[in-house]
């Protein structure tokens, strides 16, 4: 049974069947035919090219030991500074970004890349969170957009805060929403640029084109 070299499941091993991904995964387990993992090393070591810490985390997050992480599993693993779990939309966006098979879930390689991605955004977030409050306020968001090169109106930042922040006297957004907003800004910009072949900052769209553009990128 090719999944067997991982023995009792590595550092978090507790699966009764002994293979890290449990019974029922079929011959070869989730990583398919004996190949990269045949004789790869001692039980619990990360697959080649994967950071050991990312690998441990992967095993912990992959609650059902399927060898893949779903939106639901990912959500439980990621926390904002106020201890809330990442929202569904952000998790979905990120899974889609790192899911090569379009199956709605990611393997250990996708997860490893996703962790690096989140760390990059986290660094940016902390940079823009000038008062280190753990969340980004209206003025910090405005500054962030400007520094990222976007020329967006204050009403737009206002709208985003109204939608995504808790209702309070000083609404601010958490890391998950910040990532979501920035990812959507990027996709929308890419979609627009694709049509704006003359680089004039203006595109003429039919209703159907408009819907297609948005639906395929934002949904």
């Amino acid at each position: 049974f090719p999944g067997a070299p991982y023995g009792a499941g590595g550092p978090y091993g507790h699966t009764p069947t002994g293979a890290p991904y449990g019974g029922g995964a079929g011959p070869g387990g989730p990583y398919g035919q004996p190949g990269p993992y045949g004789g790869a090393g001692p039980a619990g070591s990360a697959p080649p090219g994967v950071d050991p810490e990312a690998f441990s985390w992967f095993q912990a997050v992959d609650a059902d030991h399927s060898g893949y992480i779903s939106v639901k599993e990912l959500k439980q693993a990621l926390l904002n500074s106020n201890w809330s779990t990442f929202n569904d939309e952000t998790c979905l966006l990120m899974i889609n970004m790192f899911d090569k098979t379009r199956s709605g879930r990611i393997d250990v390689y996708g997860f490893s890349a996703l962790l690096r991605f989140i760390q990059q955004w986290k660094n940016l977030f902390q940079q823009y969170d000038r008062d280190q409050s753990g969340s980004i306020s209206f003025s910090e968001l405005q500054q962030a957009f400007s520094q990222m090169g976007y020329n967006l109106s204050p009403q737009f930042s206002q709208l985003l805060l109204a939608r995504y922040a808790q209702r309070s006297s000083n609404p601010s957004i958490q890391l998950d929403r910040f990532i979501q907003i920035c990812m959507q800004l990027q996709s929308t910009t890419d979609a627009f640029r694709e049509k704006d072949t003359g680089l004039v900052g203006n595109v003429r769209l039919s209703y159907e084109d408009f819907l297609t553009m948005v639906v395929t990128r934002m949904m």
């Binding site: 939309e89 737009f156 109204a162 159907e208 819907l211 639906v215 949904m219």
Partner: protein, 198 residues
Amino acid sequence: MAFPGPQVPGGGFYQGGYGGAPGGPAFPGQAQDPLYGYFAAVAGQDGQIDADELQRCLTQSGIAGAYKPFNLETCRLMISMLDRDMSGTLGFNEFKELWAVVNGWKQHFLSFDNDRSGTVDRQELEKALMNMGFRLSPQAVTAITRRYSTHGKITFDDYIACCVKLRALTECFRRRDTSQQGFVNFQYDDFIQCVMSI
């Protein structure tokens, strides 16, 4: 050109009154309006409701019927669909408008959910959207059905979320198509704001 929209009681493309009403009754009979009861029960002094309050309000009004009530993200989407002053909240008039629109969509869903399973399949979703008048390219349909189906089925809540998004996008486009030709010239920042405010 005619834009698609949900069919509501009375038929035709939906044109509601826009703008929220302040807290108290604004017209005779409003206080007797059963919807006002649900609304007032959750709205604060400002006469506005946010996504959490909307979720409670809709659950209590029983609009979802036998279906599971709406999740918070869907409620957030519903607010953004009607939130013209970009406040992130709805007043009573906007809430009434929402209620009528959602009811229309629900009737539509019911007509497809023959076995009352609370879900429809991809082909049924496609048919429902076409019936509502949304002209979608094959890629758009694929993207939508992929996004909203779980194991090939689409739940009532996800169906509503999908309708809200499509309608909001349609409104967004329609408001800019002043000559009603079905074409809009978008400036970059307007495009971003339009799309991301959905």
